[in-house]
Symmetry: C2
Subunit: 404 residues, 2 copies
DNA sequence: TGAGTTTGTGCCGCAACTAAACAAACTGCG
DNA sequence: CGCAGTTTGTTTAGTTGCGGCACAAACTCA
């Protein structure tokens, strides 16, 4: 009765269940062509074709029938799949000790637009979050693009399901501030469509690195990073952030790495937190620490430019040994297949990768029988991209439902 | 054309994808009736009915149409679902310092038969495993039941995918013994059908407790337990054992819990392993340790019968404090929603639950804002039942494929 | 005894696939 | 240039697992 109409409609409404996995494959760059998509999904060519066509119809991806004579193998060249340039974006916001920043992030972790960012962070979370959301709204208006949701990265553990920031001490916010609720309210008031999410910055950095950076392909990815003060950790298991039962997992800052070390506010002494952060490095190198919001830069610059200096080198080696001890402890507990380091830890790895790898291998129980790769983070603005990943997640889980 | 035949066949071949989840619900006791099964699966009554009928046709479960006037609510009583008594079984074997043991375990973690077990464990893994598998084969022959596979629990970390025992020191086996391969070979030679699996005993105990014991319903279950010597840990995430990327996760024995403690073979000092095991307890209580293979019993008996003794009580409190420190460290990293303790740790919890909970709450970062429940293991032979769970897993994942 | 409630069952239809046959687009070789 | 060989896209015809619905069955309660 309705041959042509039914054919078209069938194409559009097909592939519901494989839609999410397919989009994720394109999003993470693991499906550059339709042929690869077919094999990665484990479905027939017909199904993969229908799925790709539907994602294109939704305005999320682009299918290039004419790949312009690709290289290599024989046979008919496969259609090229890519993220659609003018497709929807996610709002991403980040607050840290040296300011805040707003951005629009498309599929594939592509930064579409960035607001310059502000350097003053006041003690009132509602004010700061309100300002950064205003920046976001402005970016979105100027771009004229569709928005799927918003994500915020904060330098604090975020307790779920309440969404409260438990230790935002380094940005002078009150402990227990309901950042999740504040952000969601601001987003709604600014007229930004879609759901709003909030997460810890290191967690979100790890998520971004797993999907678009140094963590790609890892099944059990451990990420450890410093900001200006303190140490954060994150674990990505099978592509999903592991935040524990209430969002507080991977608080790795209080592993003991130096029994004779300085006391820590947690009640112990020699914690990773106070033994391997930028302040600890500057103190160990006998330098005068500058203002809190530039400790990371100060320590990183010192490490890179004056590594010949005996005091600097000695401090670096001391921190590398302590960091290695902490990482070994985490390896024994989590058994990751890859470790990535950010902040000062990344700089320490760059300074002497062999020393760090040796310490980890020596102090982890099974280090001798196969050591874990330790790599630096590679993504710019990984927390920002990770915040956007939160907002993209519902679309990746079920594109049809999320864009309805 | 074939109305009746097609109807019957449809019933039998229906519900393929929901079959596994449904069996798991019955297996873990979360679906006592068909009505509950319907809501837990989130499907229609028709689908749940077809699924239950197929599981019954496979000989796995029993559907009682006449529940004999159940209690409580109004409306038509639902059909009662239960594990079939004379259904298939899994072979379970366990090797530990004080002997080995064989059993048959049905669905629901029901011990169908147990071999008395032997108390001599030689240094040759092939010989020991061969003997225990012979016991298993005898049990299976005598029972006349169908077998879905076999599982072995060993007191050592088991590296995947090779299946080698990395630290079976307390049973005098050589490090790196290919226990997985040995077990699989023995099982095949003994004529036992189905696949063979090997795992660490604490991991398997945690799995069993999660499905049938104190860990039921936990989403992030942490289990810590002692044998006669040393400490083991396990984590069950969303119903699945988390063994890390190569099976070596949750080697929790080398967390530092006493900076001034005794040196450990790992290179550190004051490790959980040497500070909270039965030997440590006996030494702290100034008692003469007996033979290695009865340290757990000796320490447990001492703790239960002479808690009034000042030295015993002092030792217990010392160990509780150290254990609490270790657990707090794990809480900070893993953020579980429940902790269960086995071996001597279980006895320590029983001796003074408040003290242990207070230490964990005090030393975990977010302890004040909601502490983790800490419970004793409740299952007899939990490692044995857990070994059977390994063998049952393929059936739980896809009953049709596994029983074909 | 009848109303109300909850559950089991049969039937229809459909969305989401697979399988198979065919068409299209490339490479490489003679 | 033409043709075989290879790989991919497309179309068509099933297959199937499941939802929706209507109705029957089995209980409680008044």
């Amino acid at each position: 009765m309705n041959g042509k109409v039914s054919t078209t409609r069938t194409k559009l409404e097909r592939g519901r269940s494989a839609l999410g996995p397919a989009l994720e494959l394109v999003h993470t760059g693991r499906a550059p062509t339709r042929a690869v998509l077919t094999s990665e999904l484990g479905v027939t060519r017909a199904t993969a074709g229908a799925v790709a066509a539907e994602l294109e119809a939704l305005g999320l991806i682009q299918v290039d029938s004419r790949p312009g004579s690709a290289a290599g193998s024989q046979g008919r060249p496969s259609h090229r799949l890519s993220v659609r340039e003018s497709g929807p974006v996610a709002i991403a916001a980040q607050v840290h000790a040296d300011g805040f920043r707003a951005a629009l992030v498309g599929l594939g972790g592509r930064l579409v637009a960035t607001a310059p960012g502000c350097v003053t962070v006041t003690a009132d979370p509602a004010q700061v979050i309100g300002e950064v959301v205003d920046d976001c709204a402005r970016l979105l208006r100027d771009s004229g693009l569709r928005c799927v949701g918003a994500g915020l990265a904060v330098p604090s553990a975020v307790a779920e399901p309440e969404g409260t920031a438990l230790n935002p001490l380094h940005i002078a916010w009150p402990a227990g501030a309901p950042v999740s609720e504040i952000f969601a309210d601001c987003v709604r008031e600014a007229g930004i469509p879609g759901p709003a999410f909030t997460g810890n910055d290191v967690n979100l950095a790890a998520l971004a690195e797993h999907r678009h950076g140094a963590g790609r392909g890892a099944q059990h990815l451990l990420c450890v990073a410093t900001g200006h003060r303190g140490v954060g950790g994150a674990l990505v298991l099978d592509g999903r952030l592991h935040t524990g039962s209430s969002g507080l997992a991977l608080e790795v800052g209080h592993l003991t790495v130096n029994p004779e070390g300085r006391p820590c506010h947690c009640g112990g002494r020699g914690c990773l937190d106070v033994e391997t952060d930028p302040l600890a490095f500057l103190v160990a190198a006998r330098r005068e620490p500058g203002p809190e919001e530039s400790l990371l830069k100060q320590a990183g610059d010192l490490l890179r430019t004056e590594y010949e200096d005996a005091a600097v080198r000695g401090a670096a080696e001391e921190l590398i040994d302590r960091l290695g001890l902490g990482l070994a402890g985490l390896v024994n507990i989590l058994n990751p297949d890859r470790i990535i380091l950010g902040g000062l830890h990344r700089a320490l790895l760059d300074a002497d990768p062999e020393r760090l790898r040796a310490v980890v291998a020596d102090r982890s129980l099974w280090g001798r029988s196969g050591s874990v790769p330790i790599l630096p983070c590679t993504l710019d603005h990984n927390s920002l991209v990770g915040a956007a990943e939160l907002a993209w997640q519902p679309v990746l889980d079920d594109p049809l439902a999320a864009l309805a």
